[in-house]
Amino acid sequence: MSYVPNTPAEQQAMLREIGATTIEDLLKPIPADVRLQRPLKLPAALREMDVRRLLVGMAEQNADLDQYISFLGAGSYDHVQPSIVPHLVKRSEFYTSYTPYQPEYSQGMLQATYEFQTLVCQITGMDVANASLYDGSTSVVEAALMAAGPGGRGEVIVSRALDPQYRATLQTYARTRGFTVREIGLEGGITSAKELRDALNKDTKAVIIQHPNFFGALEDVHAIEKIVHETKALFVVTITEPASLGSLEPPGAYGADIVAAEGMSLGSPIGYGGPALGLFATRNEFVRRMPGRIVGKTVDDRGQTGYVLTLQTREQHIRRERATSNICTNQELLAIFTTVYLSALGKQGFSELGSQCIRKSHYAQQAICALPGFSLAFDHPFFDEFAVNCPIPVETLNAELRDRGVIGGYDLSRDYPELPNAALFCVTEARTREDIDTLVTVLEEIVGAAK
């Protein structure tokens, strides 16, 4: 089907009006030798109901988190989405609008974004935040670039407990941009303070750690901060599980210079990992070096409060090759998801979010580790994820779980050969006690049968 309203007859009339006979007349500037001389080789058009049937069929071939009981986290977290969130965000005034370059027509989006920036500051304890970046991994990249400065050289230190996909992404950019990424190792599941101290040098532009880290473990952030700030390097804190901010000390309180985080689990659909939501917050002194769009409050010619895109001279459409970043389209609508979500959860709800995750994950951890053959891989405080050494290979275990409608923990051996049998279980408030008990029963069954 077609969304072109004008009929062939109308198009003919329009052509006539402008002195043309066919649309081909308008395409004259295109040289014949680059014209496509055949139709595109694509499946024929489908009508709405037929396309719906097709897509519904494809969707049914995927495991959705309402049908499977999932304990996967590892960078993507299943939290409850309150009903009002999509009802409000999916109002077409929001999602069919463009970047708010005409503020008089965009006060809704602009004000909501100003609120978003504030909310990000409120949960992270930072001074200032931008209007979003692509995702957590590219937020980390932007943090490194900001730390490296316009020259873009030098070295960035990352913890081996930073999400492997984030490390990979950073490597990709570093290689092109020309800075070095040095990885420091772990000690008992958290970043080695000793290695960090040894690695720091005068070229170190930033130290990037994740908290809670990829294993769910809580880093010794105060100690790290002290070490980092003995140098001129910036202390970058990455968060992939922002629900942790409901309970954990915020990075602003322990001296982070930049928070580069993934925010999609705060109200947006999990959507096979995307669209995601890069959060980026920093201290006031860095505001003019921040990447990405920023909304500011101002007044109009009638004296009313209003909101505009501001500090645009940092951005590519003004500063071009000297911009702080090349980002243009960001993840605005997801920022609105998060804005409505955090507002709705509010002070009590966000705090409860954190504590429910802690309580449920610890309930699960204790039950799992009470099973013969299962034990914590690291004896370290964690938020809602924990690595467990399993008596059989995680791949085998997970295949068995799958057959029973359960999606098991992430197989850490995929990224950490040093952890050949460890599964990373994640338990949020979205899992019920019954879900957890089912997991434990089923694990017992599987391992029993394997003997």
């Binding site: 004008n6 897509l55 495991a63 988190l65 069919t96 999990i270 096979y272 669209p275 389209t329 609508l333």
Partner: protein, 494 residues
């Protein structure tokens, strides 16, 4: 419409919406589970509001925003076409929206198949060999493409290639991406026909001999004009050892008509939030997949969707790959929308879209050319650029005209871009507008031209009917107020 205070100024201490499920495991004290030193001293200072307050607040904010669903939105370079509702429904299916990105491939057969096929469709539409769906937007595609080009040159030992040529009309993301890729940008002049100046290209290539990494360009370019010399341009750049990057922001003009691959481009991005009508969401999310020619395939980021007799799976990238450019699989739910759109339209439908987009742009161009300057007076593609120079001489700028348009439930064109046209107004109607809408826009533009002569004050004081008037941008930049702060503005709740 009255004003709407901030969410932080609403509510009252103790208000809360118990949205989470009831806790069904023992409620142990947190500090028995995690040492207190890791925990917050205080809850995050978030709003304390009730459900009705949240609902009314964001509903009212939405009413203070204008989208394509409200009216005509001829914002040049942005392709603000109608966003089909069916696409939203498909992206909301639990089988897509409620998928974890790390599930085993056996639990993601529908999703990987969709991405596998979408890759093929995009390859066919652009005339490229393979595609990565990872980039989140056009600019992300650009940097990804440049990283590939860089890796390619390096694989051939040509590390010295550090110059990227960019026409003077290019979008800001192009030079910004070049910088990000550690390249030096060299600007190419436009000629009188609005295309790349061939002479300047020749001398520039010569000047930077051996150091040309790439040329980035749009075609049709940001003037909405198709550069007829594209084959020669491509040949010359290739001869100089450079690669050609196609900025696909304007692809709505060319589907089924011509393909960047056939024009000689080596890397192409598409902005799916423009051409494929995945909505722009007030600024994002989008998707900026890139397609590459055969010689660049080994450098693509991975993993890529693949298929064998046992089904679909994610295939890791080879040793030459630049590596990931983000976590997970791209802006998946945006890609679902694009897939739905392509399947809904089919090959003839996509062609009809581009034909109609071109017709609509020419139709408006011919309707307003008597009243405004048209710096390049020839057939345009899906958009065109006017100049308000004539109006400026009477004291009315392109910005003023834009503000006056706001009074008529129409979104103004892009103004002051491209930079090479004075008082530029870039008009892109898209194919989804009715003739009536185009006619009334033409009439509006003419009325404003008349007002410029007869009652300029009306324009200079515009907008008159919006929820706010012209906003003080200088103040905003000079004294940045980027977040609400309880100390400055106490939430006065009685």
């Amino acid at each position: 419409m009255s004003t709407e205070s901030l969410i932080f100024e609403k509510g009252a201490p103790g208000r809360a919406i118990p949205l989470l499920p009831a806790l069904d495991v023992p409620e142990k004290p947190l500090d028995q589970l995690i040492p207190a030193s890791y925990l917050r001293a205080e809850p995050a200072p978030l709003p304390e509001v009730s459900e009705i307050e949240v609902v009314r607040h964001y509903t009212r904010l939405s009413q203070r925003n204008f989208g394509v669903d409200m009216g005509f939105y001829p914002l040049g370079s942005c392709t603000m076409k109608y966003n089909p509702k069916i696409n939203e429904d498909m992206a909301a299916l639990p089988g897509f929206a409620r998928m974890h990105p790390l599930v085993d491939d056996s639990l993601a057969q529908g999703a990987i198949k969709l991405l596998y096929e979408l890759e093929q469709y995009i390859a066919e539409i652009t005339g490229m060999t393979r595609v990565t769906l990872q980039p989140a937007a056009g600019a992300h595609g650009e940097i990804t493409g440049l990283m590939i080009i860089k890796a390619y040159h390096e694989s051939r030992g040509e590390n010295q290639r550090n110059v990227v040529l960019i026409p003077d009309g290019a979008h800001g993301t192009n030079p910004a991406s070049a910088t990000l890729a550690d390249y030096v940008t060299v600007e190419l002049k436009s000629d009188k026909r609005g295309g790349v100046d061939l002479e300047h290209l020749k001398t520039t290539l010569a000047e930077h001999e051996g150091r040309i990494a790439a040329l980035m360009m749009t075609n049709p370019n940001t003037l909405g004009l198709f550069d007829e010399n594209i084959v020669e341009i491509a040949r010359r750049v290739h001869e100089a050892g450079g690669q050609l990057y196609y900025d696909g922001a304007n692809a709505n003009a060319i589907m089924g008509i011509t393909r960047p691959g056939d024009m000689g481009f080596d890397v192409v991005h598409l902005n799916l939030h423009k051409t494929m009508s995945t909505p722009h969401g007030g600024g994002g999310p989008g998707a900026g997949p890139i397609g590459v020619a055969k010689h660049l395939v080994p450098f693509l980021p991975g993993p890529l969707p693949a298929k064998d007799e046992s089904g679909y799976f994610w295939e890791d990238a080879g040793p030459q790959s630049i590596g990931r450019v983000r976590a997970f699989h791209g802006n998946f739910l945006v890609l679902v929308r694009a897939y739905t759109y392509i399947r809904t339209n089919g090959p003839d439908g996509l062609r009809h879209i581009s034909d109609s987009a071109v017709l609509n742009a020419n139709y408006i161009m011919r309707g307003v050319e008597a009243d405004y300057d048209l710096p390049f007076n020839r057939e345009c593609m899906h958009e065109f650029v006017l100049s308000a120079d004539r109006q400026k001489a009477l004291g009315v700028s392109a910005l003023d005209i834009a503000k006056r348009i706001l009074d008529f439930d129409v979104h103004p064109p892009t103004v002051y871009f491209p930079l090479i046209v004075h008082e530029a107004m870039m008009i892109e109607p898209t194919e989804t507008e009715t003739r009536e809408t185009l006619d009334s826009f033409i009439a509006l533009m003419r009325q404003i031209a008349r007002e410029t002569r007869d009652e300029p004050q009306t324009i200079l004081e515009a907008p008159h009917f919006t929820v706010v008037g012209r906003l003080d941008q200088t103040l905003a930049a000079r004294k940045p107020d980027l977040r609400w702060n309880p100390s400055r503005e106490p939430a006065t709740v009685s």
